[in-house]
């Protein structure tokens, strides 16, 4: 597999990244590049390493081998010593860089003991240093965007799954991330609640220039918002291309098989 080439500086670059859990290899020398503002959707059978890519970018996992770069800088690693030798990044190096990255989880992971508003204002207040009024104003704007302006005092446990996920999207956006990771954000939802979440994400995609990396099985959504689809199989990119091409005229039999299996 040749290195993907994209014009201009890269938002994300994976340089021969390997991730192993025990003796299981989840990513196998992966090379990957994402341009600023690009929307990339990762598809493929479960266990093919898609989610691991997002988790490495969110620093929830560490690479076994290789280097992850964000904005042209090492991200999984940091330069150290006079020679600038790369060593695993420590918390001090990561903290300011991680703020550019946001993530929405399959299981929402809202803070159940806090109100909707407090969920969304927590990080702007205590990470970005906004005062209570500024943070609340920003949160209300975003809750309006996700259609939950009337729910700011509710507790997450009182909301439907779709509403919870929309709060989680607002919470992630409140940090004004440059890179947004969406990890199977509709997989835990009842079928009738999927559309409301995807509609919100379509709005976000259309209204911002945030770089988005998305793992999903919703192919209609992937087709609408993605610039590029990557088909994963066993820790490697099997094929990639614009959604029209990859979904309608895949080159590999494995891709055709996978697409049939999720329809």
């Amino acid at each position: 597999m040749p290195i993907e080439t994209v014009p201009g500086p890269e938002k994300v670059r994976f340089d021969r990244v390997t991730k192993r859990f025990g003796d299981q290899t989840v990513l196998d020398g992966l090379d990957l590049a994402v341009a600023p503002g690009e929307r990339v959707t990762l598809i493929g059978p479960s266990g093919s390493g898609k989610t691991t890519i997002l988790r490495l970018l969110m620093t929830l996992e560490r690479v076994t081998d290789g280097v992850v770069h964000v904005d042209g800088e090492p991200f999984s690693h940091m330069p150290s010593g006079p020679g600038g030798k790369l060593v695993p990044a420590d918390e001090r190096y990561l903290a300011p860089r991680r703020r550019r990255v946001g993530m929405v989880f399959q299981q929402f992971n809202l803070f159940p003991h806090l109100s909707v508003l407090a969920n969304v204002t927590e990080a702007p207040r205590h990470v970005l240093g906004l005062d209570a009024d500024e943070a609340a104003a920003r949160a209300r704007d975003l809750l309006g965007l996700v259609g939950l302006a009337d729910k700011e005092d509710a507790h997450p446990t009182r909301l439907s799954g779709g509403q919870q996920q929309r709060v989680a999207i607002a919470r992630a956006l409140a940090m004004r991330p440059e890179l947004l990771l969406l990890d199977e954000v509709t997989s835990a939802l009842d079928p009738e609640l999927v559309a409301e979440v995807l509609d919100v994400l379509r709005d976000v995609a259309a209204g911002t220039d945030i770089t988005m990396l998305c793992v999903t099985h919703e192919m209609a959504f992937a087709r609408d918002v993605s610039d590029r689809l990557l088909m994963f199989d066993r820790g490697r990119v099997l094929e990639s291309g614009p959604p029209g091409k990859l979904l309608d005229a895949p080159e590999h039999e494995r891709t055709r098989e996978f697409l049939r299996s999720i329809r």
């Binding site: 969110m58 620093t59 903290a95 991680r98 989880f105 992971n109 803070f111 205590h126 990470v127 940090m175």
Partner: protein, 211 residues
């Protein structure tokens, strides 16, 4: 046999001791709640030089009798007021139990909560204060209540270092008036009257938090 006059005379003495018992419980439990949290957090320290000794010391305190600790403290820390010493020893003894309670509560906070904190770049201190501990403590509130009741019933141990708590006072009254039956029965009754409704309250709290 039961002497009503002796009982009547014993009651105010016993009740005056109850004030000390209550004070020792409240102060001792405050020590236990704070120190227990400290032990739980230090025990999770990423530095082995902190986590291991703290864990070992806590196990040691937990597995030796509180009465022995009271005597030991009485000998080792002379000059400290008996009530203050008793409150510290009882509080620290219970702190070692409560640290385990906190630990269970912290372990019960789902991994997704920690991951959400990382995704929001929350600083570590804030993760504990705003996200993990509020949820952990809520989960273990009934256990904390049960330990408070249990500690309340163990305050009579403080009589061995001459704290004038309720059982100490009952014993003193019994020996001067030769009315042990009356004074101890009254002390037992006061314990029952105080802890029974409290345990019902804890059970209701438990039911409310369960759903």
């Amino acid at each position: 046999m039961w002497d009503m006059d002796a009982a009547r005379a014993a009651l105010p003495v016993v009740l005056s001791g109850f004030g000390v018992t209550l004070l020792a419980t409240v102060l001792g439990f405050a020590v236990a709640v704070a120190a227990g949290l400290g032990i739980a957090l230090l025990g999770r320290s990423r530095s082995r030089w902190i986590a291991l000794p703290v864990g070992a010391l806590a196990s040691f305190v937990r597995s030796t009798p509180v009465m022995v600790q009271l005597f030991a403290a009485w000998v080792l820390v002379p000059g400290l007021d008996a009530l203050a010493l008793g409150v510290l020893v009882l509080g620290l003894h219970y702190a070692t139990y409560l640290s385990e309670v906190y630990r269970a509560g912290i372990d019960a906070v789902p991994k997704g909560q920690w991951e959400a904190c990382t995704a929001l770049s929350l600083p570590r201190r804030r993760v504990w204060r705003a996200v993990v501990l509020p949820q952990a403590v809520r989960k273990v509130l009934p256990s904390l209540g049960n330990y408070a009741i249990s500690m309340f019933k163990e305050t009579p141990f403080l009589s061995v270092i001459a704290v004038d708590e309720m059982v100490h006072e009952a014993n003193a009254f019994g020996s001067t008036h030769f009315a042990y039956l009356e004074s101890f029965t009254l002390a037992a009754a006061v314990f029952l009257i105080a802890s029974w409704p409290t345990s019902l309250l804890v059970r209701r709290l438990e039911a409310r938090l369960a759903h």
